[in-house]
Symmetry: C2
Subunit: 607 residues, 2 copies
């Protein structure tokens, strides 16, 4: 039996009753639970929007069918954080989706919070009370779609489209009162698995098959949000098999789901995962733009192309994907990752709002029509492995409504909602979280290096771990220097950016330090803007980043947190410190062995 | 149903009838099958020895109960190879054991020939006809013990000592007519798994428990050869848990099996597998000698300490383990590995007799009382994954009888027994096999470097793959040089050797080139005996080794081999060439990036 852990919903007692059937019922219940007095007015066409008005002795929340529920949570939040939203509120992004990478065997790909919360042993397997609490969590931060299965569709998840539909429908019903709709990942080759001779998107039989299948699916789950597809990527099937473009593949599916109001989300994470390391011409960051830019304008209106924030794959820092800037005639979704795949496995602290702030600012929020994030949830009692990792889920929902939100604002909100701290303690925890990504970056692969992580686990340092492999992820460090020249003199990647950004990045004198080695190959004695040499900066960052991780422990020890949280947090900070020391020492030794350069400050670098 | 593939037993048709119950019946049957005329005289106390005498119109084989069977196979072999052994023959090593690393779930640890031939799904599962053929193969080359389960004892293999005893007895009965006895690996902590509060070897309850258990086991399998134990190694339980020595642990078990004539084999593969790479004092090759040398003389008479040939772990070339030279008052078994864990996964050709020749010569054959080898067998039709890998099984048995045998002799024997080739073809294949280990060594981790392999798979190059890990396996390559100083100025490992060897190894001027970087840390411009620099030798070997692998293909294509063998061999040589090119390019690039040295011959080294 799941133990009650409420993350940021501390004011709302468990359990959520199974009698709630609509967002209005849920809103009324929650307001009552929170001890707030409010009345509701439902507007037929209000959708997700709401307005909170103070009235005698309480509030009136006016809004659409789901808007009133978002309003209820906003009011409860506002009364704790000290800021009840004034004026009409509506989400900036209509589609705010959590992507579960849950497999039906109960594993979660790149999951760090235990096994799947809703799959086990090849079938749906969950505690309804916990799923209702999940619905409450998602609605309370503003997420409105949950994609239930991994983008890598493993058996028997294909059967989510037929024999498992009754189970999918039951699961959908549990989340519906919270304004959360489901999405499913489908396998592009599914028609062939069921007997058709082809999955060619231009084949009429295939088109008819998908239309029929969509009819069946929406008959079971009438408010299903749509399909999510990973095609022609990392060995997944796709339209390229048939000489068709991704637009042709996506549109075929989009036309099958359109009659039911469904969207078709097509992931743009496509690159050559069988690269030869000897090949210095092919440059993985170029791949998505090279493939998709020529297709701009060819996608149907209910297709959304989902693009990871950077051109690689969820690294600690990447420049904004040029595809996000270049697809002007295509609906885009920005893909984030709450699961800390490359960012510390929910052991190391990594609060994401500062990273996202850069991304939204760099992209321009209006470029995307939707936001998606790979889930960090699992069956662990505390939901997210590390209790503080719940912040990233919360903040994701908040960014989906207010992409201009300041990192400090959303972090402080979450801290105040989750814990009962004195002002100085709240400041300390907020500051620690706010700076956690910078610390992680400093002790891992800094200056835009990326990919110096262990290839299998994606945790811990391995400076040459990817170097001679097939993933297109090289640093090419040698005794003279390090980095990839991605200017026009090199791979030309920089020319995928608009002119102003190109100018900024292509000159090592103007390129931001933190992206320097992403765009440039430089000698160890290159002078950084602050006068330090590149090698000294590599050393300094690793020493500083590790010292920052070490210093976190004292702050965490000083905080009066609930016992379970405190125990888990202190256990994990020890893991983080160990990891940070490994990163510091291995990375410094690696560059010392190559460069031969002594640390100017005479700190310990192992031989 | 298993397809008939007969390895080197081409003159003996399948199947072996189930009616054969004794070695005499088997001997008479085999001689008849081979179309030879021979009579037998069984000597009561002849054991495994035999003599073949020509008599009118045929031969008379005189020998012990199993000796006559070994004699029968020797005669059949001799008539094909052209050399019938004259005079009394007996095996040099009384115990010649194949170690299956077979798990009961059907996997084989480090197995490259398919799944287990006798385990599947948690139980014994085999084709009796195939096991009889296995018995024939083992007897025909001279192996007399098969250890059925992995030294890492995973559940349910613990039950080989109780509920699975009837199955073990049935399996033993299948091999008994071929003079092959079984052995089992046991888990030192077994008494605790069955309810005792301790597994302390000095605890009387524990001692009594094992005596009782041994009684039960030998009641089921009266000719069981004994127990094999991996203890206090790589997280396996052992006597150290209780502050007891390995002698105390081994002797306790030895006393339990002694009443039944059993031996207790104790593996000496013990080292710190949680080393910190920063620690340059701890040196893994020292570990076994440091631990066991002080125990010399303390082991019971029916204990055999099983020692891997080198101080590391089955690398392409290691100096002979100093433990094999230093344990003068202890029964030793020399452990070899037929499974090509670090030596090419039965994809790359690696005929082992040249390696073993060095080991037996370096150790002195009389140092050991037994030989053991990790099996390279599996459920693959061809038994060993690569058809030529059967040579290593055959040769192991032959070395067990005649440890002075010349590599060329045993390779040519196997070639002649296995294939029907013209003399020039036989020469070509013999030469290719004879030189295959040298080629592999040249293109992989040469000059005694070891461990530049991918850590997970143990196949393919990863020069820094182990460098910052916990296994004690470092090359410490930097911009100036490479290797570990194991002289007295370094880790002192060299002082574990007798004086003459120590003198030889400790001076880089006398240390054999092929072990140079095992014993010494040297700059890239070190002058080798032939005048080349170290870096040039690193480059040259990698280019040459790869070229040798490439040149093998033409030889293999030219040979008139059976279709199935030929298809598999040509498929695998393509894999080997690909692997060799990876090793060549990655290793050369690695050292070029570090050293900055150009290749004197201007060959292609990637950046």
């Amino acid at each position: 039996m799941w133990q009650e852990r409420k993350t940021w919903l501390t004011r709302l007692p468990l359990p959520v009753p199974e009698t709630l059937k609509t967002p209005l019922e849920a809103a009324e219940f929650e307001i009552g639970q929170a001890g707030v007095r409010a009345a509701f007015t439902v507007e037929k066409d209000g959708g997700e929007s709401y307005e909170i008005l103070p009235v005698d002795g309480g509030y009136r929340i006016t809004g659409g069918e789901t808007g009133i529920l978002f309003g209820a949570y906003a009011l409860i939040r506002g009364l704790t954080t000290g800021c009840v939203p004034a004026g009409r509120q509506k989400p900036f992004y209509p589609l705010r989706m959590l992507n579960g990478w849950d497999n039906m065997d109960g594993t979660v790909e790149r999951g760090y919070a235990g096994r799947s919360m809703w799959f086990e042993g090849g079938r749906f397997d969950y505690e309804p009370a916990r799923v209702r609490q999940l619905g409450r969590m998602l609605a309370s931060c503003g997420v409105n779609v949950l994609c239930v299965n991994n983008v890598n569709v493993h058996q028997p998840a294909q059967h989510l489209t037929d024999t498992l539909l009754p189970d999918l429908a039951r699961f959908a019903a549990l989340l519906r009162p919270f304004g959360v709709r489901l999405m499913i990942c489908i396998d592009f080759s599914l028609p062939m698995q069921e007997g058709l001779p082809t999955a060619d998107p231009l084949d009429e039989q295939v088109q008819a098959w998908w239309k029929e299948r969509a009819k069946k699916i929406w008959a079971a789950v009438p408010d299903l949000a749509g399909f999510l597809v990973k095609a022609d990527s990392e060995h997944r099937p796709g339209p390229n098999t048939y000489g068709r473009t991704h637009a042709e593949g996506a549109n075929m599916l989009a036309r099958a789901v359109a009659p039911f109001g469904g969207v078709l989300i097509w992931r743009a994470f496509v690159y050559n995962c069988m690269q030869d390391w000897r090949d210095t011409k092919t440059d993985r960051p170029r791949a998505a733009y090279d493939l998709y830019k020529p297709l701009d304008g060819q996608f149907d209106g209910n297709v959304i192309v989902q693009v990871k924030y950077g051109p690689f794959d969820f690294q600690v820092r990447e420049p904004v994907s040029p595809l996000l800037l270049g697809m002007e005639k295509t609906n885009l979704a920005l893909e984030l990752q709450l699961a800390q795949e490359y960012t510390g496995h929910q052991i190391d602290l990594f609060a994401m709002p500062p990273l996202w702030r850069e991304i939204f600012d760099g992209m321009g929020k209006e470029r995307a029509k939707a936001v998606a994030a790979v889930s960090n949830l699992g069956r662990d009692e505390n939901w997210t492995g590390h209790p503080f990792a719940a912040l990233n889920l919360y903040a994701f929902g908040r960014f989906g409504w207010e992409p201009d939100i300041a990192p400090e604002t959303v972090i402080r909100e979450w801290v105040r909602l989750s814990y009962d701290l004195a002002p100085a303690q709240e400041d300390a925890l907020t500051e620690l979280l706010l700076s956690s990504r910078d610390a992680y970056e400093q002790y891992t692969a800094n200056l835009g290096l990326c990919w110096m992580v262990r290839p299998e686990s994606h945790y811990g340092p391995s400076p040459y771990g990817y170097e001679f492999d097939r993933w297109g992820t090289y640093n090419r460090a040698d005794r003279n220097g390090v980095g990839i020249d991605r200017t026009d003199a090199g791979t030309g990647y920089v020319s995928q950016y608009p002119e102003a950004l190109k100018k900024l990045y292509e000159n090592p004198e103007t390129c931001p330090d933190k992206l320097l080695l992403f765009f440039h190959r430089l000698p160890y004695d290159f002078r950084m803007k602050d006068g330090r040499t590149l090698i000294q900066r590599l050393y300094d960052d690793h020493f500083q980043g590790c010292a920052r991780a070490e210093s976190m422990k004292g702050v965490l020890e000083s905080l009066p947190l609930p016992d379970a949280d405190k125990r888990e947090i202190l256990e994990r900070i020890d893991g983080q410190i160990k990891n940070a020391r490994e990163w510091r020492d291995i990375t410094n030794t690696f560059f010392h062995r190559l460069s031969g350069a002594a640390d100017e400050k005479g700190r310990k670098i192992y031989e």
